[in-house]
């Protein structure tokens, strides 16, 4: 599904700003991978580079989806391939209603893939179902997108979009930050209910606690732009117990 080969990335227009320093990673169909790391390790950058964010530049390596390089594709084209990024800080967009925006997103995807657009009637039905599934306040989604939403409401709204867009590869960029336990559980339930043999997840997180609710198949520890350790779910518990200190020391030695 997703293959990352020796990926190096820097901040656009800033010299010596390399953040990702050679990442290799393979995520198979239906797998859930967690990427954990301390602050400044590059895990959020990785999530954003995968989606094609404008302010990073890939200087070396490649990213493949189903064997095809996506580095030349725009973010919207990556979305049409089935990629999705749940944002750490979803943008607040005054005047744009979630309904309207999600319909536009689905329409673009249908257009790009030569499929028929969903009728307004069918979309409304789908939207209402998903609102209930995610447990988002229906009044909220009548308002401007994310404007005045609490941290938890924004994350629920990301889950709503995930549910509606049904991506084949969902990347969650620290979706757990700023959430209380109830909201965390809702995010986790959203992800768990969407786990399927056809859908892969990359869950980027600083803390282990989200992984109490979402059991990953593989855990990677990212430190200073490199994956320093890969293991099973037990690796996350190790981090919870001992912190990132030992890995940071290893990264120093390897640098």
């Amino acid at each position: 599904m997703l293959e990352i080969k020796n990926l190096h990335a820097s901040v656009l227009d800033i010299d010596d700003s390399e953040i990702l320093k050679g990442i290799d990673l393979k995520v198979g169909k239906g797998e859930v991978h967690a990427i954990m790391g301390p602050n400044g390790s590059g895990k959020s950058t990785l999530a954003n580079v995968l989606m094609g964010r404008f302010d990073y530049v890939v200087t070396e390596g490649d990213v493949l989806i189903d064997g095809n390089s996506i580095l030349k594709l725009r973010p919207d084209q990556r979305a049409h391939l089935g990629m999705f990024l749940a944002f750490q800080y979803p943008a607040e967009i005054p005047g744009v209603r979630p309904w309207q925006f999600l319909k536009a997103a689905l329409d673009s995807k249908a257009d790009a893939n030569g499929e028929d657009k969903m009728s307004v009637r069918n979309f409304s039905k789908l939207f209402d179902e998903k609102i209930e599934a995610v447990g988002i306040n229906p009044n909220l989604v009548k308002r401007s997108l994310n404007e005045g939403f609490s941290g938890g409401e924004k994350k629920r709204n990301e889950m709503l979009q995930l549910e509606v867009l049904q991506p084949s590869l969902a990347i969650l960029d620290e979706t757990d930050s700023g959430l209380d336990v109830d909201a965390l559980r809702i995010v986790a339930e959203g992800v768990n209910s969407m786990r399927s043999p056809e859908r892969s997840f990359v869950v980027v997180t600083h803390y282990q606690r989200l992984l109490n609710y979402i059991t990953p198949d593989v855990v990677h520890i990212l430190v200073k732009g490199k994956i320093v350790k890969t293991g099973g779910p037990e690796l996350a518990l190790e981090v919870e117990k001992d912190g990132y200190k030992q890995y940071m020391a290893e990264a120093e030695v390897n640098a």
Partner: protein, 450 residues
């Protein structure tokens, strides 16, 4: 004494004024006095082409206007279908149609609504309806302002709307000013007088449409009298053609606990100005002045918005939004004066702009002059671009950049569009906005994103 040269362009209007005065020599004396006084003012001022040291026109170059010749008193014919196609329309509204400054009974749609007097201004003048003699040109036309003076010098017909005390017309009153599609460039002086009686609720939609294909000059003047407890909801839709000049004036006089809410939708003309002044002249009066302007090409839209708090416990709110592209230009000049007696005044001013191109320019100038000491006031203005983070967010959901920008522009406008409450009016401004966004986007560049 140096050689006397006439102020700019006065000569271009003097012959027309002379023949107008002669043709109307049988007008009531008070009206003739109003006209000749206004003409005297205009002859001293001329078209304001001097920008240096002239705060009012510092950012607006009127030399192209001063160079043009306009004919007077020539009109063409207009059909109802053309009017309905060019502006908002609802059969349920009481509609007054004024073509090239002249009331048209044939095109108007008046349904005899209780408490409402609406129709020809000329008719109201000749029959001395209500307080017209003391009201007409008492707010606009006697000041030192070239365009109200010029317009008032030619005051003749237009629309007259009076709402009797305690009346509450359930439906909006729509006043449509049409420039017909006759040949050549013509000047017109659309005029509207609104007399809102005590404790009334009136919704007034003022629409300017232009069916001509050449440069026209329109100098509309609106005077609104809000008696104690009157609520006037005013909407203004400006849809001139892209070659025309539109310099409009609105003057509002408000008594105790009256409220005046005005929302402007300004998209037309090569140079347009909406000059509003509200005089909060008795305790408890409040006004809310809103507007959305969109400019492209080499258009210029000015919002010259001022409020005077003359008495205590009054509230004013100015809030405008602009979307600019191409090499267009907009001016927001918001002024609030709080006089010494006007304690407990509350005034806010806000102007937010979205600049889509390198060549677009906004001059935003909110200002407060406060002479009282117990006042709440706030003002602010911003000029921003389409936010790249937001754009990325939309793109990551599969929406391409152009469509994402269109969604964001539409979102920026939404808050103002929502102010247009009557349904048919909302649908009209929404449609025009949706049609306009691709034009704005076509003239945008990478600098419009930050």
């Amino acid at each position: 004494m140096t050689t006397a040269t006439l102020p700019a362009a006065v000569g271009k209007y003097s012959e027309a004024f002379a023949s107008f005065a002669e043709a109307n020599s049988d007008a009531p004396e008070w009206l003739k006095a109003v006209r000749s006084q206004a003409w005297a003012t205009f002859s001293e001022l001329g078209i304001p082409v001097k920008r240096r040291g002239n705060e009012l026109w510092k950012y607006t170059d009127l030399r192209p206007l001063a160079a043009l010749d306009f004919e007077h008193g020539i009109g063409g014919s207009v059909s109802l279908d053309e009017i309905k196609a060019a502006g908002p329309w609802d059969d349920a509204w009481d509609t007054v149609v004024v073509v090239d400054g002249v009331f048209s009974a044939e095109l108007s749609n008046l349904q005899g609504t209780a408490g409402l007097t609406a129709g020809s201004l000329a008719e109201a003048i000749s029959s001395g309806t209500g307080d017209i003699e003391t009201q007409l040109a008492s707010l606009a036309g006697r000041e030192e302002y070239a365009f109200t003076a010029l317009s008032t010098a030619f005051v003749d017909d237009g629309a007259y709307v009076a709402i009797a005390d305690d009346a509450d017309p359930a439906t909006p009153i729509h006043v449509v000013f049409v420039t017909s599609n006759a040949s050549g460039s013509r000047a017109s002086y659309p005029r509207l007088l609104v007399d809102a009686g005590a404790n009334t609720l009136a919704v007034i939609i003022e629409t300017h449409i232009n069916l001509a294909e050449s440069a026209q000059l329109s100098l509309p003047v609106v005077e609104v009298f809000a008696k104690p407890g009157a609520t006037v909801r005013h909407y203004r839709v400006q849809m001139e053609n892209e070659l025309s000049y539109h310099l409009g004036t609105i003057r509002v006089h408000q008594l105790d606990d009256s409220s005046f809410n005005s929302t402007t939708f300004a998209v037309g003309a090569v140079i347009a100005r909406n000059d509003i002044h509200t005089q909060l002249d008795a305790p408890g009066a409040s006004c809310t002045l809103h507007g959305l302007y969109m400019t492209s090409g080499t258009q210029q839209q000015d919002q010259e918005i001022s409020t005077t708090h003359a008495k205590p416990h009054c509230t004013s709110k100015q809030f405008y939004k602009g979307i600019l592209s191409g090499k267009s230009h907009a001016v927001f000049s918001g002024k609030v004066v709080v006089e010494r007696d006007a304690q407990k005044s509350d005034a806010t001013q806000k102007d937010l702009n979205l600049l889509l191109s390198r060549g677009a320019e906004i001059d935003a100038k909110p200002s407060l002059e406060i002479y009282a000491d117990d006042v709440t006031a706030a003002h602010g203005a911003t000029a921003g671009h389409v936010d790249r983070d937001t754009l990325f967010y939309l793109q990551s959901r599969g929406v391409d950049e152009e469509a994402a920008k269109a969604i964001l522009i539409r979102g920026f406008a939404a808050e103002m569009l929502d102010e247009f409450k009557p349904k048919a009016l909302y649908e009209f401004v929404e449609r025009v906005t949706d049609e306009r966004i691709p034009v704005l986007l076509a003239e945008s560049d990478a600098l419009g994103t930050a």
